[in-house]
Amino acid sequence: MWSFSKIADLVHQSLNHTFSPTLATIIEMVIVGVCVIGLFAVLGLVLVIMERKVSAWIQIRLGPNRVGPKGMFQSLADTVKLLVKEGMTPSGADKFLFNLAPYIALIVAMLLMAPLAFAKDFQMWDLNIGVLYVSAISSVSVISILMAGWSSNNKYSLMGAMRSGAQIVSYELSAGFSVLSVVVLAGSLNLNTIIQSQADGWWIFKGHIPVMISFVIFIIAVTAETNRAPFDLAEAESELTAGFHTEYSGMKFALFFLAEYVNVFIVCAIGATLFLGGWMPFHIGHWDGFNHVMDYIPSSIWFFGKTFFLIFLIMWFRWTFPRLRIDQLLNLEWKYLLPISLFNILLVTAMAILGWYF
Amino acid sequence: MNNEELKTTITALLPSDTFEEGGEWLNINVEPKDWLPLAQQLRNDASLFFDYLFCLTCIDWKTHLTMVYHLSSTRCRHNIVVKSKLDRSNPEIETVSKIWKTAEFHEREVYEMFGVKFLNHPDLRLLILPDGWEGKKPMLKDFEDAVNMIRL
């Protein structure tokens, strides 16, 4: 049976066979780069159309239904439109930072792809500190938002950026703690080891109540970190028109847009990896027969299925909830989520030491 | 209180005013200089208690302007109309925006539309007209705008 890991191995072997190892590595890197950019574009298109269809479904309307079958090419048409639009730079803007900001947002999102395990044995970079890497790099995305807001020379942008800064810095803590609870249980920062540790059941089931609490906190925190409603204060359109990207147009706006969606994908992939076993099929303890049946479903389908389920969840939030106010947002984090996650990490640690998990 | 009772009470407050009969509500004519003290009494007198200024406007009679205040009481449920004749060349009257806060906006509207100067108004600027509007006040009867006005 064909799988991603087999294709990767085949490419690796044939390249090493024909070229010197150094050259082969370089070519592999180029291939990986191209694949990441391709995945990026595809994810952007798929997630945008998904968002529009999900919102249409929630809002009792049809959604895009003209371009292509059932409107599936709508986001492609939108991309073409954005590509040919003029990318304006305001005259009062800090031109260098203004133009740099969307690329930083994009690069951060791309870097975050590196340690993700998309399928069994299919990973760009099997990093032994994968979790740390992800939480470190994802914090950089706030810089692009601050940069965009500051350099636009627009008060709405500035306020959006400042809100976003306060928000991301705060919610990073809860997200970190909830990720940590799985790290404590699995005993590793390596994403692959964490996935392997879930071979007899996903952490959300094995770790029962404390991990479920972490999972809920994680979902709330990453929704906030990716600036999605109900935490979309950075771009709160009824207050700040478009927040930090008010002045952006054309492809530069599209890059922010794309980065937002890819960030959603990445945080959902991380969530799926940590709590729902990543590519690991649904296994129950030592029910070998059942586990064997589950193994027939390819690992990549498991991974994308879980990730898209979480994405759907986040979209569902967006189209249901009203937006929070800035002080309520920070209250939620500092008065509720952070104390709960602090206590929760204590609970998880005790549980890990005493072995009170399945 | 009905109109007759209102008339007696208000005459006691300000003997110099005159009344117009016939309308739905009691109409009181006051001199511009008497308006502010009367307004304070109308608002504060416990038996009158006109706390709701629901309409404030001006009429251009070509010879003079008339300020019209429609007052109502949310407690006693009676209404009166106070009118004050202003000199058309230099219309001036005391503001009542300290007594009824809604007057602040309405007076600004009258100021820009009729040119009535409200003395001691906290913020007498253009509200509706574009910044830097000069020339005649648009709601005056002799206002002419060849471009934007359509006559039927």
Binding site: S55, Q59, I60, R61, K155, Y156, M159, R163, A229, P230, D232, L233, A236, E237, S238, E239, L240, T241, W319, F321, P322, R323, L324, R325, I326, D327, Q328 | G22, G23, E24, W25, N27, D51, Y52, L53, F54, C55, T57, I59, D60, H70, T74, R77, V81, W100, K101, T102, F105, H106, E109, L127, L129, P130, D131, G132, P138, M139, I150, R151, L152
Partner: protein, 371 residues
Amino acid sequence: MVEEIGTTEEGDLIINVGPQHPATHGVLHLVITLNGETIKKVEPHLGYIHRSIEKMCESLTYRQFIYVTSRMDYLSAHINNHACALCVEKGLDVEIPRRAQVIRVLMDELTRIASHELWWGAMAMDLGAFTPFFHAFRERETINDIMEETCGARLTMNYMVPGGLMADLHPNFQKRVKEFITLYKLKINEYAELVTGNIIFQNRMKGVGYLSAEDAISYGCSGPTARGSGVSCDIRKLYPYEVYDKLEFDEVLETEGDSFARYMVRIGEMNQSIKIIEQLIDNIPDGDFQAKTKVVLKLPKGEFYSRVETARGELGVYIVSEGGTTPYRIKFRSPGFSNLSALDHMARGSKLGDLVAMMGTLDLVIPDIDR
């Protein structure tokens, strides 16, 4: 003129909300002085959609000027027409047939529901929830269809004329309205589930934009804005016109004075309007839909004032007549104008995010403010 760019001397940020801004629902321009996220001052600049309807009406006859007034508060076009028709009828001293009166009240209440539906959706959208907008429009569409059938228009109906109505009811009217009542009762629970009971929504609304009863009266607020502060000001109850004095309905009052109270008043009003419609829909008397009036209307010399309750509050029409075929001076006392004047008072000290909640619950319709 205020320098509208940059900062004040104290270093506060001055920010222009509007004239083009998603939260203003029209071309309202607010100059806001901000200290961080906290509002220090809100200064409305009006006039971007000022058409000088009052001046226009001075050269239109009493039959013509009604059509212009549909464009004031376009969400309660019926009620605007109604106010004007009432004022002219007061001047002419004509009694309109009972059938016309009942139909006018029915139309008013349908308009009120439609207007509140739109407000509900738009307000939720201001707070960042998009979905309620579509749910609200589903019901509003039904009302618009009913209007279209009878009046021929969906937004600016021009159905009420001096002396009665423009035309008789469409034969389908009663059936369609009854269908609407059934639909409405089915769907109103969704509103509570989706928005009213939502914890985020309640946190955004409760204690926000407090307006005391004294301030509400002093600022000339009317309609749901004042009733949310506990001020009894429903013209339908206090100065009944048409058949309102014979109907059973409650004036919805809340005493908290915050945005949530105003929200609850409007939700309650929709239910009361349904109650009124239910009482009338089977009891439309037969007869003429118009009183006999002259072709050219001439009001006697004098002043006439009529007050009605629109979806936003008290609309007053003040006609000064010199005995001619056109009004000498006409003044529309629009509810939005007075309600807006309270915004600065309400908004001071609250967060920028609260401002949209306040503007949402004031239910501002900009053409109504500017006229």
